[in-house]
Symmetry: C2
């Protein structure tokens, strides 16, 4: 159990959300056949960034927007079962995952907290566009996705709001 | 390269987004110290559901909102480097990942597409609340997260918009 009241602020906000909620009967299918793989970064609002509404797209997010096994598992389900036909993989500017080496991150965490994270693979990016190219190719090469799925690689500028197709 | 024009609709919508974009200079830190782990489901709009704005929270999403290695990796970075102190793990009603056995999903995909996915672990849920309890505990037991992080387990009702704290 979390402590009593630890989440009161968001639960109270949710009461307002629910009070104004209109059930439009949306199914679990992706209405526009889209999936977006992107970073957990708090500055990215995937739906608004792409002019989408609730119901349109499946969203996958992790540190760096990397195509991990978890993302591939999710894409298999999203494409075969939930109507996804187009996949956007979206990196962004000013990404923490592209600005330091794993060694430096492990050291920084250890020095600040005493936690030794060196057994974890952080999937940081030395070269962000190269990492994006690898990730796009990883999706295209997956033997588990349906034929004909469209995959694009994109870069989002957190300072301008602009999305650029790069691959 | 994806085909020319495959993403024209969202790129055009993004031009409008960028045209109206105001750079508020948000940093990469989570302004409200929050992380949300939830499902890719297209009916979930995490920021609005919790009354949050861009900049407030790190968002992690995959099939089922499961706490995978990828999510743990992401939480380690989010807590140690990006200001996250509270983590919400949010399951939802009518989740495809909680309505079928892995065997049935593998069979359904094979019959529809000829793709044999049986070597993949889909992380489906026989018992959604039990899976949520395991996932919450997985985060609490992680030796790689800072001491004092608060973790809660929640269920979101896609028909009413209401979020309930269950763990």
């Amino acid at each position: 159990m979390s402590g009593m009241g630890d989440f009161d602020d968001v639960l109270t906000a949710n009461e307002n959300y629910a009070a104004a909620f209109v059930d439009s009967g949306l199914p679990g299918q992706a209405g526009k056949g889209l999936a977006v793989v992107t970073c957990m970064d708090s500055r990215i609002d995937p739906l608004n960034m792409l002019g989408l509404a609730k119901g349109d797209a499946k969203i996958m997010r992790n540190a760096g927007g990397r195509v991990t096994e978890d993302v591939l598992r999710t894409l298999v389900l999203a494409t075969h079962l939930l109507g996804v036909e187009r996949i956007l993989i979206v990196e962004h500017t000013d990404c923490k995952m592209a600005t330091a080496t794993a060694e430096a991150v492990h050291r920084r965490i250890f020095e600040a907290s005493g936690v030794d994270t060196r057994s974890l693979e952080f999937a940081l990016m030395d070269d962000q566009l190269q990492a994006l190219a690898q990730d796009v190719q990883k999706v295209r090469s997956s033997p588990y996705l349906p034929k004909g799925i469209v995959v694009g690689g994109f870069l989002y500028d957190v300072r301008t709001g602009r999305l650029r197709e790069v691959l």
